[in-house]
Amino acid sequence: MSKAIPEPVTRLIEAFSRLPGVGPKTASRLTYFLLRAPDQLTNELADALRELKANTRFCSVCHNITVEDPCGICADPERDHRVICVVEEPLDVLAIERTGSYGGVYHVLHGAISPVNGIGPDNLKIRELVARVEAGDVDEVIVATNPGLEGDATAMYIQRQLASRDVKLTRLARGLPVGSDIEYADSVTLMRALQGRSAL
């Protein structure tokens, strides 16, 4: 980077460029915006960044990101603790919570098995899931990994690990999303949608 730019500015630009989806141009734009922004804004941002790591931790039960341990969902006596929904990422928990139609608890894997990227079962919270099933009264494990090759591989691996345990294993149904068009659907999705059709 050019010597005409002071060092603190380059540092922030480089820091921004490391964020997902942020290129060098966006990074510079954000940095120069902050340079001209009121102090209050930059201070709030700096505090928020610092506290992000300092005040959050992983829930020791479901491994979601939380302030309290165990997290709000795991500590809620109203929820059905015998049903565990397994998701890849913390954001998936939010998506399922938004439906308002799930009353069980969660287990966050923090990724999916992806041999090409060097992510194996040991990099995920699969062992913790098995331990959780072994330890307590669990009736059903709902595998809600993404419907793609990695998510499928993860689901199959979990199935292997839990095969000998006395627990019902289910997978989220697959089919056509609302607002889509059959004409554009791929053959795999259509096939699974046909297999999983339901009575009108």
Binding site: V116, G120, L149, P177, G179
Partner: protein
């Protein structure tokens, strides 16, 4: 095909994909006439995307790609061959990951004709769906991939003395990329054993079509030996460990 054309239609096999921007996916695809290309599938992570289901890993897709500045832009995509068994069977899927990883590592991003390697990958994915002996499929793939990538292991003559090697126990040199006979072995370091049966298996795979290889009944220890040599040679050439290998080994151990 002219290099300046703005859009082209091609068959492509998806080797890698990662999330990009808000709802896009960046795909690394392998094509017969343009080699390996990075392509952006805009909006492919939205549930209503018309491309979402058509850009799955290790599928063969009919694509319309526009040239962009850094990446190609995927305008249309229609899945042609889903290779379903790779999705329904953990082991088959893991071997497919390995095959895709090798193609990715052994190719650069030059726009070049790669139809032989493309056909090899395509038929390997098909075989990984159908065959019983997956290790045979993968070893066959490795040895032909090495040949197409310009690292064909020399199995017929000694790489030092250039005399034909007899079908007996020999040595293999990663550095020289081939067999070294017992007579010349003393003068070179870093050799690994290449027993006669393994040499015969490798030679047979190198010169025969898969239809002749598939009927072989290969014992487990011979498989291990062939894997040791080929994987060792590949790791030496790439100067790095291959990510998918650990997972395959682990699955093998657990079953």
């Amino acid at each position: 095909m002219a290099r300046t054309e703005r859009a082209f239609r091609t068959d492509a096999i998806i080797l890698k994909r990662r999330d990009f921007n808000e709802a896009d996916r960046l795909l690394t695809v392998f094509t017969p006439k343009h080699g390996k290309i990075d392509v952006i599938a805009k909006g492919a992570r939205k549930p209503t995307s018309t491309k979402a289901g058509h850009v799955e890993l290790f599928t063969r897709v009919d694509m319309l790609i526009h040239r962009g500045r850094d990446f190609g832009i995927l305008s249309q995509a229609e899945m042609v061959e889903p290779f379903l068994a790779l999705r329904d069977d953990l082991q088959r899927g893991a071997y497919a990951s390995y095959a895709a990883e090798l193609v990715d590592r052994f190719t650069g991003s030059e726009d070049e004709d790669q139809r032989h390697l493309y056909n090899l990958l395509d038929s390997t994915l098909q075989r990984l769906c159908e065959e019983d002996d997956l290790r045979l499929v993968i070893r066959y793939f490795e040895i032909h991939l090495l040949g197409l990538a310009g690292f064909q292991p020399e199995l017929n003559e000694c790489v030092i003395g250039r005399e034909p090697v007899m079908p007996e126990d020999q040595y293999f040199s990663y550095v020289e990329g081939g067999v070294i006979c017992v007579r010349h072995a003393v003068r070179t370091g870093q050799l690994i054993d290449l027993p006669m049966v393994t040499l015969k298996l490798l030679r047979h795979m190198q010169r025969s079509p898969f239809s002749k290889v598939r009927s072989l009944k290969v014992a487990s220890n011979l498989h291990e030996d062939a894997e040791r040599i080929l994987l060792g040679y590949i790791t030496f050439l790439l100067e790095r460990r291959l990510e998918s290998v650990d997972f395959i080994r682990r699955l093998r151990q657990e079953t």
